[in-house]
């Protein structure tokens, strides 16, 4: 009996990678970084490029980080020479398309950092998409954008 249980477990273990491959990650994140800010600053900006690997459009619906009090999606833009910023509730990524978060455009508004973050530190960020999938990424704190 015990032997069968072990065999069953082994079989399940062998199948697990396959199950993962079947569902697969739906989004790939690249060029991830958080702009280092002076100590004591209440808000940091996070940037990345998200690539939708699926055949269906996806929407980024929520962003969380245990290293910050709250995280929102914001967009900066210049209107009539004036720098403005607005919260964006969610953001669509076309099927097999990508969306870029970058200075002067979409960015993560990362509020109330739980500790001072310096270049080289990592913050954990979890993205939730409309298909229910989640993507956990490690975002390095940097002084300047990563090279493309």
């Amino acid at each position: 009996m015990k032997r069968y249980r072990l065999l069953l477990l082994l079989m399940i273990a062998a199948l697990l990678p396959l199950a993962n491959a079947a569902s697969g990650p739906s989004v790939r994140a690249s060029l991830v970084w958080i702009r280092q800010a002076p100590p004591g600053v209440a808000v940091l900006a996070g940037y990345f490029t998200l690539q939708n690997l699926t055949d269906t459009p996806l929407t980024l619906t929520a962003v969380e980080s245990r290293d910050f009090g709250s995280v929102e999606i914001h967009r900066s833009f210049v209107k009539d020479g004036v720098e403005e910023m607005e919260p964006v509730p969610s953001i669509a990524i076309p099927a097999h398309g990508s969306i870029e978060f970058k200075p002067g455009s979409y960015h993560l508004m990362m509020m109330q950092p739980k500790k001072n973050l310096f270049a080289g530190d990592m913050a954990e960020v979890t993205l939730t998409f409309s298909d229910g999938s989640q993507l956990a990424i490690l975002a390095p704190v940097r002084h300047d954008p990563p090279a493309h």
Binding site: V41, G104, H107
Partner: protein, 214 residues
Amino acid sequence: MKFKTVLPFAGLFVLAIAAGIVTGRLVFQSRHAPSRPQTAALLLHDARPLPEFTLTSTDDKPFTKQSLTGHWSFLYFGYTHCPDACPTTLSALDHMMASLAKAAKAPKPAVYFVSVDPKRDDPTLLRNYALYFNPDFVGATGSLDALRALTGPLGVEFSYTPASQQGNYSVNHSSFVVLVDKQGEEVAVFDPPLDPRRMSSDYLNILKYYGETW
């Protein structure tokens, strides 16, 4: 005979023309040269004197029109709760300073970050913020009325968005950087996106245009 008498006059004539050309050039150059440089920055046709204003800088000195004389200055208006635009601009200004350091003898400009969010930007926070981008950057702020005395004439706008439930708000503010000459006059405006190398070469060309030598 005749030829002999004409010769000295001809010599004088040639000399006079040569002298005329030389003086003409000198006069012309002093008035018109160097020619107006091609810049990415908006170079004002005539420098505009700054208004009188009194703010406080983060080096604990009054920040007035007089603070902006005797050296060239860049002024940028923003706020520290600004995660995207302000760090991008201040970082570009820092890179511009690095690029200018290569033109070692050129007069170094001062860079001022003026906070238009005095409610949240206390002097310590503002100082840390400015210094973080470059140890020579100076922050400044003051009451809304004191700020408006400077921003109004410069055409710098700022306004506040409604606060969220948590009390967070953001500040809409002009995106450009102002260049002030050593007489305390506004001479040019730089619009984003800012290219630090282009800013540095524009700055040097504008200095030459204004007769600075180094």
